[in-house]
């Protein structure tokens, strides 16, 4: 454990006062759950709405005449395809094609905005700033002054609409709008990490408590509850969204991680040639989804076997509340990656039967 003090968001006191169980995550003290419990918080988000404090995440502002060209160079997505107010998922890759981080790109009217993982904040800033040569661009870390909150679920938009004049009907999925929410100037992004409709909100960090309490008050009659990181993980796992350090890392390219859809290979970007090579030669290992056949809880790092021989490792394993299964993601040699392949997961010394199944386990509600 690091000797450094863990950082706290502006909602730390609120979480503690309301029974939030605080745990260290990416250098921050975050609520892993509230008294509601992770399973109920998960169901609440899928059936009504959940409010998430995700201020630990990082945000960078990218400005300058060459911002679009620079982001086109460092990320896997084609920024020239993005209109003003478009949002898109992308990856940052090293020269060898392995993954620096997964990010969200936003083209705003007068600058670009990037959301990145809390765990990679320093690494990403250094990496991005080291690739600005030749571009008229500035990359600034605005994480400290920017608060990030997510409001997700089938009732999320209805709740948000009560406290904003921005007509959410004109803000389709994967776009953003700027306006007041609860009287607070906000960048509203119709994106999320749960597989449900909803928004991620970016606003002045000093107004976090105001925003949080207003949304909870307005959303309460519709079933809105605060949701912690444990449920955030089970919610993102079911639609097969990756989490850095698990499904994606500096050990894999987007090809192994099954993220080909986040790539625009017909334009140059850092790591492109290495990724093309993997694609053409075929990856040696692949990310798969599996469900347990024998009962048991698969967990990160548990060995994966085929015919009793250890061949891979679990990267995420949980009891998935909505689909009602013990399930996980794992890396296995490409030849074993077919749906239907019988595998075994070593759980506390015993090999338990599992089978590779189609991903995602849960289809996003907004598609």
């Amino acid at each position: 454990m690091s000797e450094e003090m863990l950082k706290r968001t502006n909602l730390y006191e609120w979480h503690v006062a309301h029974g939030g169980r605080m745990v260290p995550f990416a250098g921050w003290e975050m609520p892993v759950q509230y008294p509601t419990g992770p399973t109920e918080e998960h169901h609440t988000t899928r059936n009504a709405a959940g409010l998430f404090d995700i201020d630990h995440m990082a945000q960078f502002s990218v400005s300058g005449a060459d911002a679009e060209a620079y982001l086109n160079h460092v990320s896997t997505w084609d920024t020239t395809l993005m209109q003003i107010n478009d949002a898109h998922y992308a990856l940052l890759c090293y020269d060898d094609g392995t993954i620096v981080d997964d990010i969200y790109l936003y083209r705003l009217p007068n600058r670009w905005f990037v959301a990145l993982n809390a765990s990679n904040r320093e690494k990403d800033l250094k990496w991005m700033q080291s690739h600005t040569d030749g571009f008229d661009v500035t990359v600034t870390d605005v994480s400290d002054e920017t608060y990030m909150m997510a409001l997700q679920g089938p009732k999320a938009i209805e709740i948000l609409q009560k406290v904003t004049d921005v007509s959410m009907a004109s803000v389709p999925r994967f776009t953003v709008a700027e306006g007041d929410v609860a009287g607070i100037p906000t960048l509203i992004s119709r994106t999320g990490y749960t597989g449900e409709d909803g928004v991620e909100l970016f606003f002045d960090a000093t107004r976090a408590v105001e925003m949080w309490e207003t949304l909870l008050k307005v959303g309460e009659p519709l079933g809105l509850k605060p949701v912690g990181l444990a449920a955030r993980d089970s919610l993102r796992f079911e639609p097969s969204f990756p989490l850095y350090g698990h499904e994606i890392s500096a050990d894999v390219t987007p090809i192994e991680a099954r993220l080909g859809w986040a790539l625009k290979l017909n334009k140059p970007f850092i790591g492109r040639d290495a990724i093309l090579k993997v694609k053409l030669e075929g990856p040696k290992k692949l990310l798969v989804g599996f469900e347990m056949v024998d009962k048991g809880v698969p967990r990160e790092h548990y060995p994966v076997a085929v015919n009793g021989e250890i061949v891979g490792e679990v990267v995420t394993g949980i009891f998935a509340p909505t689909v009602g299964k013990f399930a996980g993601h794992a890396y296995v040699p490409a030849k074993y990656a077919k749906v239907g392949t019988k595998i075994q997961i070593e759980i506390r010394g015993k090999l338990k039967e599992a089978v590779i199944i189609r991903r995602p386990f849960y289809r996003p509600a907004y598609k």
């Binding site: 169980r21 892993v32 759950q33 419990g37 992770p38 399973t39 109920e40 444990a230 089970s234 009962k295 048991g296 809880v297 967990r299 949980i318 009891f319 013990f326 506390r348």
Partner: protein, 125 residues
Amino acid sequence: MKVDQNVKYMESHEWARKDGDLIVVGISDHAQDSLSDIVYVELPAVGDTVAKGKVFGVVESVKAASDLYAPMSGEVVAVNEALEDTPEVINSDPFGEGWMIKIAPSNPAEWDELLSPDAYAAANA
């Protein structure tokens, strides 16, 4: 946090209750609260032998797997089958419907070595 007065405890948060000649075993309210949502329990089979202080099973929650330690030695004569489909009853009713196994104790004197409710409560204050 509930500290049931009709049972005795282990430091590791298991409880034991006398039921005629048998001993009923489960985990305390403190234990279920710190584990959070329980999703799976692995229990021994009827006929298995358990030894005081040794692992007799595992309880798995959303966040972690936790070994279960036998409060007394003996033979397993009953297992709560309902826990296979609804392990979450351990969270909602840890001293009642959340019971895990019943044993026929081979060494009844081991009962005296368990913590009284007051001692358990003091240790977890």
